[in-house]
């Protein structure tokens, strides 16, 4: 699998990643890996009711999230973009609170973090990215505009909204990066029975959109593809499709039982090399990092996860009044009287 450079502005001048950045990428991936496996454990321990692991997708998520310019871009995640969130520096207790069942969209501030509320509708926010991106064109057509990056899966690619979004984006030349993580599965359905033609990237040509299919387990390749796509979009050349080929190594969610639809042997064969281990070997081989660095990264990851665990455990339920207060900007009398009734009957005040 190779990245086919098909973009108008490939950001060729961009400097290659410094050793410092490569190490930062590794640190991020290690943090994400550890937080992800911790979250699964927390679910088993009853700390959170459910979780959607991204095990195996760390390179795709960290590599792409690392390319985001948080001063002007905006990211539209699904329910599985924990690694992107972490790479973008989100408040991870706020992020994980969605899995604690505290608040559906998460408790982080999406405006400040440039990371839209967690989206549970498959393909639900792909069109939002197009609208947001077109808004950037309308607001500042000539400057290097902000770029929207919308994440979705191989399964999501079947939704009509994805087609409408790609067509709208291409017609309007909206600065959108459609970032597909093709992780081989949509719950129990493998990509070959989901994506006719076999590749989501191949769809792009039909809209005149350039596409990059990239090894989603190679964090540097993902980062570079994303950076190029951003440059392309920022320069007014319209949308780009990136399909990062990766593998969902874990269950769909903590409620899922992959044993019903794939064998361990299949998993082992199809998953390929572990993206974290692979990156580690590369950094070692290139002399960018040593074992002490990796040990340190692991220790930091563990400390971080521990802080997040404590934060999550401290999270109380939201006050019930928020159910009513956060529906509208301008509350309605009808809703206010429901809030009053609720308070009287449920809080017994």
């Amino acid at each position: 699998m190779t990245t086919k450079p098909a973009l108008a502005a490939v950001d060729d001048d961009a400097a290659p990643l410094s050793n410092q950045q490569l190490r930062e990428l590794y640190t991020l991936m290690a943090a994400v890996r550890h937080l992800d496996t911790s979250a699964v454990a927390w679910q088993r321990q009853g700390i959170i009711p459910g979780y959607a692991p991204e095990l195996g997708q760390e390179a795709a998520q960290v590599g792409s999230g690392y390319a985001v310019d948080r001063s002007r871009d905006f990211v539209f995640p699904t329910y599985r973009e924990m690694g992107v969130a972490r790479a973008m520096g989100l408040d991870m207790v706020g992020y994980m609170s969605t899995h604690k069942a505290t608040w559906h969209g998460g408790m982080y501030n999406p405006v400040e973090s440039r990371f839209a509320p967690i989206q549970a509708v498959v393909a639900g926010s792909v069109l939002h990215a197009v609208g947001w991106a077109h808004g950037q064109t309308l607001a500042a057509p000539d400057e290097g505009t902000g770029v929207a990056m919308t994440y979705f899966g191989d399964g999501a690619s079947s939704q009509g909204d994805v087609h409408e979004a790609m067509n709208f984006a291409a017609v309007m030349k909206a600065p959108v990066v459609f970032f597909i993580q093709n992780n081989g599965w949509a719950i129990s359905v493998p990509t070959e029975r989901q994506v006719a033609g076999g590749s989501v990237a191949a769809r792009a040509a039909g809209y005149g959109i350039p596409a990059l299919q990239v090894d989603g387990n190679d964090v540097v390749a993902v980062y570079e593809a994303t950076r190029s796509a951003f440059a392309h979009c920022r320069n007014g050349n319209g949308p780009v499709v990136i399909e990062a080929m990766t593998y969902r190594r874990g269950p769909h969610s903590t409620a899922d039982d992959p044993g019903r639809y794939r064998t361990l042997e299949e998993e082992r064969l199809d998953a390929g090399e572990d993206p974290l281990e692979r990156f580690k070997q590369r950094l070692l081989a290139d002399g960018v990092a040593d074992e002490a660095f990796f040990a340190d990264a692991q220790r930091k990851a563990e400390e971080e996860a521990e802080v997040i665990r404590m934060g999550i455990q401290d999270l109380g339920p939201r006050p019930g009044a928020e159910m009513f207060n956060l529906v509208f900007q301008e509350p309605t009398p009808a809703l206010q009287s429901q809030a009053t009734a609720w308070r009287e009957e449920s809080e017994h005040v």
Binding site: P110, V111, H128, W132
Partner: protein, 352 residues
Amino acid sequence: MSETITEMPPVIPAAAGIQQLSMQQALNRALDEVLAQNPKTVIFGEDCGRLGGVFRITDGLQAKHGEDRVFDTPLAESGILGMSVGLAMAGFHPIPEVQFDGFAYPAINQIVCQIARMNYRSRGTLPMPITLRVPSFGGIRAPEHHGESLEALFAHVPGLKVVSPSNPHDAYHLLKYAATRPDPVIFMEPKSRYWQKGPVDLTPAAADTTAPDGGNLTGARVAREGRHLTLVAWGAMVSRCLQVAELAAEDGIDIEVLDLRWLKPIDAEALARSVAKTRRAVVVHEAPLTSGLGAEVAQLITQGCFDTLKAPVERVTGFDVPYPSGDLEDEYIPNIDRILFGIQRVLEYRRG
């Protein structure tokens, strides 16, 4: 009696600011002014730009305000509404149009799961100031899916507000009001009334929620006062109810007509106030009966006036059948006869 006069809000003085406009003209003018006032307002949809909309509601707006502000989209309603969410997140106030009521269905997922919930999901950080214009209801002998009434669906969705004007004056003021709100409003335009003229007082509203005639923009409106029975309606059914009231007056029956206007939130106080006086009510709508908004209205009236109500609230509505083709349209939409029968049932109701 001419419809125009029947429809006038009571006692509008012949002021300088009053013009005779059709609802189409009133809506067009409201959009023009909203575009001029708020640079973040954008209007778009199928055929909204160059053509000015199949009903010409956006006529001339692209030429005047530019292709960035008023534009055509590809033919995809989910796309239009989904894009509206993103524009709202980027700080715009989108005023999308769905070409006809029945074509809101492809966009329901975006409307219900996204537009109505993004403010909530984002804990108030990403408001959705989206004003969705939907040419609505039947009565124009149009093809299939061009005569639907979706108010019950919209009103049931937490996070949406829903309004429908019945005359040009309200169309102008309610649209200006809706299109400046920070929350999503579904604006249901009674398409069979687009070409009826009526007086519109164009004097800018004093306060946000007050029309120049002194009426409040957020509640229901008494379209005609009466003592014996309250007819509750919205959209195109208001003028029909006013006609019915005229006819009933000939028989000495004095009917109050309440134009509900806001279908979410519903002005329950106005319902109770009116029926507390008349003690009898009939609610009229075009949508099918079962699980229609008439049930909500009837139940609100019953709750508010249980002690004094002389008869169960009647509902005169469309039937539980798909909206029929033109030839049967008049059999489906509540007609004068059926409304009179409903009134009669209420007036003649005797306990036991």
